[in-house]
Symmetry: C2
Subunit: 190 residues, 2 copies
């Protein structure tokens, strides 16, 4: 198996470090150190910390498992539930830390970087489109009420999810997740 390139090492380290410490809490030296690379080599692969953060955001997006929302063979509401359970478990296993990099960057960086803002907006849009598609299917199947607006509902639920991560991290408790599932499936998705 070919050895992963130094760029891949740096990118994996960047994702881990940005996710754990945030954009402003992360230095290029830390990314390089964690990848076992000299700090100077960072600039052989990325033009700036910002460019590296954008690549890390894209990598984070690839790991969101949006495919779970479209997987055939189970009803759309069940797929939606499993998708959020997957995302919940990621946070619980980390003792309620780290949260969602989209939300972290939206509160930490988007006011200060137009490029990162655009990527966060695009990432949230890709995610809500996948959820919108599943909700459209659920509506067609009669699993939710006929007048449910799939796009507004998808964006509202993703926002509720991002806030749920905020509550879960602040309280270090699963109660926020339990409330999300209760309210999403019993009050919003009917």
């Amino acid at each position: 198996m070919p050895k992963p390139s130094k760029r891949e090492d740096l990118l994996a380290s960047a994702l881990e470090t940005f996710h754990t410490r945030g954009f402003h809490g992360t230095g290029i030296k830390e990314i390089a150190d964690a990848a076992g690379a000299p700090k100077g080599s960072f600039y052989n692969h990325f033009s700036s910390k910002e460019e590296c953060a954008i690549e890390a955001l894209r990598l984070f997006g690839d790991e969101r498992r949006l495919d779970m929302l479209a997987a055939p063979g189970s009803p759309p509401l069940e797929r939606i539930r499993r998708h959020f359970e997957f995302l919940r478990d990621e946070v619980v296993v980390r003792d309620f830390t780290r949260g969602c990099m989209f939300g972290n960057f939206a509160t930490d960086v988007v006011d200060h970087s137009e490029e990162i803002r655009a990527v966060v907006a695009q990432s949230l849009g890709t995610w809500s489109s996948a959820l919108t598609a599943a909700l459209t299917e659920a509506r067609r199947d009669g699993a939710v009420r006929a007048d449910l607006d799939p796009d507004a509902t998808a964006r509202f639920l993703l926002n509720a999810w991002e806030g749920t991560l905020i509550e879960a991290r602040a309280t270090k408790s699963s109660v926020a997740f339990d409330t999300f599932f209760l309210m999403a499936f019993e009050a919003v998705l009917r």
Copy 2:
């Protein structure tokens, strides 16, 4: 009128700077500079950046206008709507920047400071209690369904609000707010 104390100047400057730049993006020198004080004087009033941030968070909490949720003379759902409209307007007037300091600190700092985590959790709890009280009143008045759970609904709506700020900041658009009001009042609060 007595001149505000240097501590008050520093605290006002800290609130502004932490809110604009985040915890990790803010240095003590910036807080002192914005207050027109020498950096060294900061430590006459605060033992650490963290202690100062906690005071700033409390000041931010005092400005959330939770009193709007309890104001007599108008129906509870109308008070809730006005409260969130007030919070929305704060963000719109700042061109969709800054957001909510509770959410910002929850994504930026709570993993790294137990003291700040506790204050963010407490602040969110105070806020959701005020919203729970208004929802309990709405349920008693028959303005929402009889089986609505005021506490779960309050926390879910605050989380949806925090996520709405994330979407609004990332997209620099009021659409997220419009969706929040539509979904909160048409789908959740029935």
